[in-house]
């Protein structure tokens, strides 16, 4: 029981991170029908930017943890957003309207480029971050096992929930979000109504990257390290989450993220930790075979 509760807490924390990344996959897929393979690496770049900012703010400038965290989130979102905006402009937009595989190949190229760029910048060894937020609540304790809720987990969940609410409001209630959904449903019609489709697509990339940047900050806070290769596995897991939830569906991405987080942590606890990634990837294969539209996905995308 204690193990289960503990893993539930851990799984939901991890799942919020996956959910944040999954939104970027699902939004980009929704609007241009492309799987942005570089998105995992954008997340990793976000984490790396966060790492550098934290170092500068806390070690050099001596700022306290909470203000630096807020600053890091802000800077990370802006820089990563800009980064993804640039990627879309140089690697994807010129290929729009060419054959379907072209942007995918370009995305894989971008993924490799980003990973290698960070590898070169970072050097061969990971730079760990001193733990920022320490301490935890003991929720339940017996001699053998305890259930703890770490402060950093609370921070992760609270930030994620706050961000999701803001994001939901943006998509549902603002003209920008409406334009975004309109482009997703019928790009040509959106243009006939005066919507700048290219600009809307750019903004989608920026928003997706900003959320991934937050996920990067959270990941860094949770594990204390981020390395150039960290884009791949969380990236594929978040992609799995998006597919599981139903690609194109925003609530689906969050739900899928939480499920993948839970499956991973439960698997590690009850089976063997060595195969936790295999568990997550098996879900991807099983979903694609038996439930290709995902849990909240639309059975058939309306033709436009």
């Amino acid at each position: 029981m204690e193990v289960f509760l503990q893993q539930l807490i851990n799984g939901l924390t991890l799942g919020s991170i996956y959910g944040l990344i999954a939104i970027g996959y699902t939004m980009v897929f929704g609007i241009i029908g492309m799987v942005n393979f570089a998105h995992g690496d954008v997340f990793m770049v976000g984490g790396f930017i966060a790492l550098m900012c934290f170092m500068i703010l806390t070690a050099w400038l001596g700022l306290a943890v909470i203000p630096s965290l807020l600053l890091v989130l802000l800077i990370g979102m802006i820089l990563t957003g800009l980064w993804n905006w640039t990627i879309e402009r140089v690697a994807y937009r010129p290929l729009r309207g060419s054959f379907r595989l072209a942007p995918l190949i370009s995305a894989i190229g971008m993924s490799i480029f980003l990973a290698n760029l960070v590898q070169v910048l970072q050097g061969p060894r990971n730079k760990p971050l001193p733990p920022m937020i320490q301490g935890n609540f003991v929720l339940m304790g017996s001699e053998s096992t305890t259930v703890v809720l770490a402060y950093k987990q609370i921070v992760i969940v609270v930030v994620t929930v706050a961000l999701l609410i803001a994001f939901w409001w943006l998509v549902q209630k603002t003209p920008l979000g409406r334009a975004q959904r309109a482009c997703e449903q019928d790009r040509k019609m959106a243009a006939l109504l005066g919507i700048d489709v290219d600009r809307t697509i750019s903004i989608t990339f920026v928003i997706g990257a900003a959320l991934a940047a937050v996920a990067g900050v959270m990941y860094l806070m949770y594990y204390g390290v981020v390395s150039f290769s960290d884009g791949f596995v969380p990236g594929v897991k978040a992609f799995t989450a998006a597919v599981l939830g139903g690609i194109g569906s925003l609530p689906g991405a969050v739900l899928g993220g939480l499920l993948i987080g839970l499956i991973e942590t439960m698997w590690s606890a009850y089976f063997t930790i060595d195969y936790k990634d295999v568990a997550a990837f098996s879900i991807l294969a099983i979903t694609l075979i038996f439930l290709p539209t995902g849990i909240l996905g639309r059975p058939e995308v309306e033709k436009v």
Partner: protein, 255 residues
């Protein structure tokens, strides 16, 4: 029943500069030519109807005006401004609105959101006021305000597509077969609405129709398109009276 009230007054039509001027426009799909050099004018305050058989190129012209697909030759100007190469969304922002072929209502947006989309170019100035006008025009939309576009009936979607276009407060309204698939009563309602907007607010309308009788009756002027070229033009009355037009587009029709 008198033609005086049923037919739009032809007075406004005579002269004046063109609001929309299409000159020698050729449009291709790949290597296949769809418009083979089209010339056409729509003046301020007019209702202009274009009729033509299936595949004549009517919808292609409507979309070419918006630059999608783009005219490969010729020019299109709006209010004296060349818009041939302008991006589609910028053309829309000049206040040209279209209710396109197939209605293209946003299926996963509510009726309300679809109407909001129509008002985008106005930055929602006078949104509430315009919304009330649309409800007065199409009371059905008010009942369906929270329903998703994709679940509306065909007729309701048509009303929504027209209302969405009107929300832009257009200077020029393009309607691609507004009567398609609608019950005669609704067609009448829609045509009445167009006539009323034209008379009372001076709305300029360019519409394409299969329903030739009603559409020509509504129009000040009309064009006939055959295989990507304009073959005939005249006032609505002249075309209605023309034996060729009658034979090709009116005989056997229900009117």
């Amino acid at each position: 029943m008198s033609t005086l009230t049923e037919t739009a007054a032809p007075v406004a039509t005579a002269q004046g500069p063109s609001l929309l001027a299409v000159r020698g426009v050729k449009t291709y799909y790949g290597n296949i030519i769809a418009l083979k050099g089209v010339d056409l004018d729509v003046r301020q305050g007019e209702i202009v109807t274009m009729i033509g058989a299936n595949g004549a190129g009517k919808s292609t012209l409507m979309m070419t005006i918006f630059g999608s697909p783009r005219a490969r030759e010729g020019s299109i100007s709006f209010d004296g401004r060349d818009i041939t190469q302008m991006p589609t969304h910028e053309i829309a922002r000049l206040r040209i609105a279209q209710s396109p072929e197939g209605r293209r209502v946003f299926p996963r947006m509510t009726v309300y959101e679809n109407l909001q989309m129509g008002a985008s170019i106005n930055n929602f100035a006078h949104f509430e006021q315009d919304l009330e006008r649309m409800f007065a025009l199409f009371p059905r939309l008010k009942e369906r305000i929270s329903q998703r576009g994709g679940t509306l009936s065909g007729g309701e979607q048509q009303m929504l597509a027209i209302a969405r276009a009107l929300m832009a407060r257009p200077r020029l309204l393009l309607l691609d077969e507004p009567s398609l698939g609608l019950a005669p009563l609704i067609v009448r309602q829609i045509f009445d609405a167009i006539r009323m907007l034209n008379r009372e607010e001076g709305l300029t309308v360019f519409l394409v129709e299969q329903n030739a009788y009603h559409a020509l009756k509504l129009a000040h002027r009309g064009y006939v398109m055959v295989n990507g070229v304009i073959t005939m033009q005249g006032t609505g009355r002249e075309l209605l009276a023309d034996p060729q037009v009658r034979a090709a587009y009116l005989e056997g029709g229900h009117h």
